[in-house]
């Protein structure tokens, strides 16, 4: 089954490159996404971890990330049916093909049980997302792609060095870097090399996760990519990077280095939140605004993981909430871009009056992103705050709340104007961007975020408990 999940998008992607007609390619995309999603959720009933061989297997955190990736990918696939209309055939072919390859490599990230394989999979996600980001070949998108490539490749090179350090740390004891073996032989690794390894791995994977100060590729790539791709970058790719940070935490935890690891994670997290506030304030490009909000939320996730205990539960829950919220936010920006043909927040006025559905979803995205009650993000942010207070990190809790409040105000200033201010020219605009295939996925994502704010299904709760149990004790 796991092998099927890995091969399915790979084969479908290959098929998309050769299929001559656009309709067929769309069918391949949708059916592959549906089958992948069904396959992933069939694992929810089976006992974990499932392993295929030494290298591939699915444990609780892997399944969690993979489920989020698969579900969001399905939504984006439906959205794309309405999004693309008149781009040339060749670029449609490349786009759909690489989109499916991207899914295949993200599946591989979730299923890797070996650090070397994990790194290769992360590198592959970088490479397969390049044609997606550089889809509209403008000067700005080339610049964004260049930054994305160079910064992520350096990150990967440093992470590779970190893995070599890890391998040195195992010489004379474990002699391998399979995640399971590293965890089951605690306290034997050579500590100085392990510490170096943790530092370099965190820098490398933190780059991909968008933690300040290695985040600089993120706002550019998110704002220049087509909106559905931004949704995937923010909702899926960042989570895959977080999964690799979680793997490092597992090794650090087993070796008793968790305090050391936390002392790096928490400052990175709070810096991400602070910097996101500075750049959200008065941001002119609404996609950049949501991109900086991704930096903020990844910071929150890092803080939760660093705090440990119930914070880990909160961190994983926040990862899920953030993925769907950001999927929602970026798909709404896709609608907005098709309606107003501008990325400047100043050009978008009176959305609620002109495009009531998009307007409502824009407000929902704004409220969910800023973590207001009724939305899932509120619960997870509250749990992380609780973890900070439990651990007597009062200064951290103060800044955490301060930045959350400031970012809420910064976002409100921009989004409310977009939604409510009267439009300058009152002539009727075309109603494109409100076709059913572009509204239904958004509606579904809104429902997920709202439901997670009210009720956490027991099966999800069980999975989250199982994940946080891996770092307990």
């Amino acid at each position: 089954m796991l092998l099927f999940l890995l091969l399915l998008p790979l084969i479908a992607g290959g098929a998309a490159f050769v299929l001559p007609q656009r309709g067929w390619r769309n069918k391949v995309l949708i059916s592959a996404a549906l089958a992948h999603c069904a396959g992933v959720f069939s694992f929810w009933r089976s006992p974990l971890p499932v392993s295929l061989n030494e290298f591939l297997g699915l444990d609780a955190p892997g399944l969690l990330v993979l489920s989020v990736v698969s579900l969001l990918f399905l939504m984006v696939a439906f959205y794309l049916l309405g999004y693309f209309k008149d781009e040339p055939d060749i670029s449609h072919r490349i786009f759909i093909g690489f989109l499916l390859l991207f899914l295949a490599f993200m599946t591989l990230v979730s299923a890797s049980r070996h650090f070397g394989l994990l790194l290769i999979a992360i590198e592959a996600t970088t490479l397969s997302s390049v044609p997606l980001i550089n889809f509209v070949k403008t000067k700005q998108s080339i610049e964004a792609t260049w930054k994305f490539l160079v910064i992520c490749l350096v990150g990967i090179a440093l992470a590779l060095l970190g893995i070599y350090f890890l391998a040195v740390a195992t010489i004379g004891n474990v002699e391998s870097i399979f995640i399971d073996k590293l965890i089951s032989h605690p306290g034997q690794l050579s500590l100085p090399w392990l510490k170096m390894s943790v530092i370099f791995l965190l820098i490398g994977c933190g780059t991909k996760m968008g933690l300040v100060p290695m985040h600089t590729w993120l706002p550019d790539a998110h704002s220049q990519a087509p909106s559905p791709v931004s949704a995937l970058l923010s909702g899926c790719l960042l989570n895959c990077a977080f999964l690799s940070v979680f793997r490092i935490a597992q090794v650090a935890h087993a070796a008793g280095l968790m305090p050391f690891f936390s002392s790096m994670l928490i400052p990175l997290g709070i810096m991400s939140m602070g910097l996101a506030y500075v750049f959200i304030l008065g941001q002119e490009d609404y996609k950049r605004m949501f991109a900086y909000s991704s930096v903020e939320h990844m910071g929150i996730v890092a803080i939760g993981l660093g705090l440990g205990g119930i914070g880990i539960y909160g961190s994983l829950l926040h990862m899920i909430n953030n993925a769907f919220t950001k999927g929602l936010a970026f798909l709404v920006t896709g609608n907005l871009y098709q309606q107003y043909h501008s990325k400047r927040a100043g050009d978008v006025r009176g959305v609620l009056r002109r495009h009531p559905l998009t307007g409502i979803f824009l407000l929902a995205a704004f409220l969910a992103v800023s973590g207001l009650p009724l939305f899932g993000t509120f619960i997870s942010e509250l749990i992380i705050l609780y973890a900070a207070l439990l651990g007597h990190h009062y200064i951290l809790a103060f800044f955490y709340l301060l930045f959350l409040a400031l970012i809420f105000m910064g976002l409100a200033g921009i989004v409310l104007k977009m939604a409510q201010a009267p439009a300058e020219d009152q002539e009727a605009m075309e109603t494109s961007g409100e076709s059913p295939s572009m509204i239904l996925p958004v509606l579904f994502l809104t429902l997920i975020v709202v439901v997670l704010g009210i009720y956490i299904p027991p099966i999800l709760n069980g999975l989250l408990q199982q994940c946080s149990g891996l770092l307990a004790g």
Binding site: K137, K139, E143, L149, L153, L161, Q224
Partner: protein
């Protein structure tokens, strides 16, 4: 063989320093190619007495891919570029050289603190690899030409590769994975993007890539 190994390592570092002070893209690529060929010889020196087929294979692949294919590929990428010299880097040539010197000293200090768990052929391998990584990073951040940045990245990768050579006997699979991860795909994509930069901007100055900022 230790003498040969140390000599090769010293040459590798010297070549990295030459790259930092050369302002012509062609020279940088040449020097990088030479450095990679030397690097490809390092496994022969380290594992002289215990030579095995896969070690020779890794070394040969490094010489062919990094020493020959990559430089010619980079040459191909700059075939249409009109200005082939780095005129105003963000970190000056002198400063880069000075910082590189400091990086080498720092790497040797750091390496004395980290004891390698098994006996290795030469104590210079670890500090040399750290130095290459830092010098590569300096080049990457201090140059504005896209190709110069790529060379910086490749020097950094060479540093990582040099460290990996120590693990070749213990964990061949991991090292081979690292090589698989390696440059070739990365450089291919980098090359495509560089070409795109060429087409859109008529040059490969990343300084001009400044429309996106806050």
């Amino acid at each position: 063989m230790n003498v040969w190994l140390d000599a090769a390592l010293v040459l590798i570092i010297l070549l990295a320093l030459f790259i930092t002070v050369s302002n012509r893209l062609g020279t940088m690529i040449h020097l990088f190619g030479l450095q990679s060929c030397l690097l490809g010889c390092v496994p022969f020196f380290i594992y002289f007495k215990q030579m095995e087929f896969y070690i020779a294979f890794v070394a040969g692949a490094a010489i062919v891919l990094r020493g020959l294919a990559m430089p010619s590929f980079l040459y191909w990428a700059i075939r249409h570029v009109s200005s082939r010299s780095e005129s105003n880097p963000t970190i000056g040539f002198g400063t880069t050289l000075l910082l590189s010197g400091a990086a080498i000293v720092g790497s040797f200090l750091l390496a004395t603190r980290l004891v390698f768990p098994v006996r290795i052929a030469s104590d210079m391998v670890v500090p040399c690899s750290f130095s290459l990584i830092i010098i590569g990073f300096l080049l990457l951040t201090g140059r504005v030409k896209a190709i110069a940045q790529v060379v910086g990245y490749l020097v950094l990768e060479n540093g990582v590769f040099l460290f990996a050579m120590l693990l070749l006997k213990k964990m061949p699979l991991l090292v081979e994975m690292g090589i698989l991860l390696d440059l070739f795909i990365a450089a291919l994509v980098l090359g495509i993007v560089v070409n795109n930069i060429n087409d859109e901007f008529d040059h490969t100055d990343t300084l001009e890539l400044t429309t996106l900022k806050d």
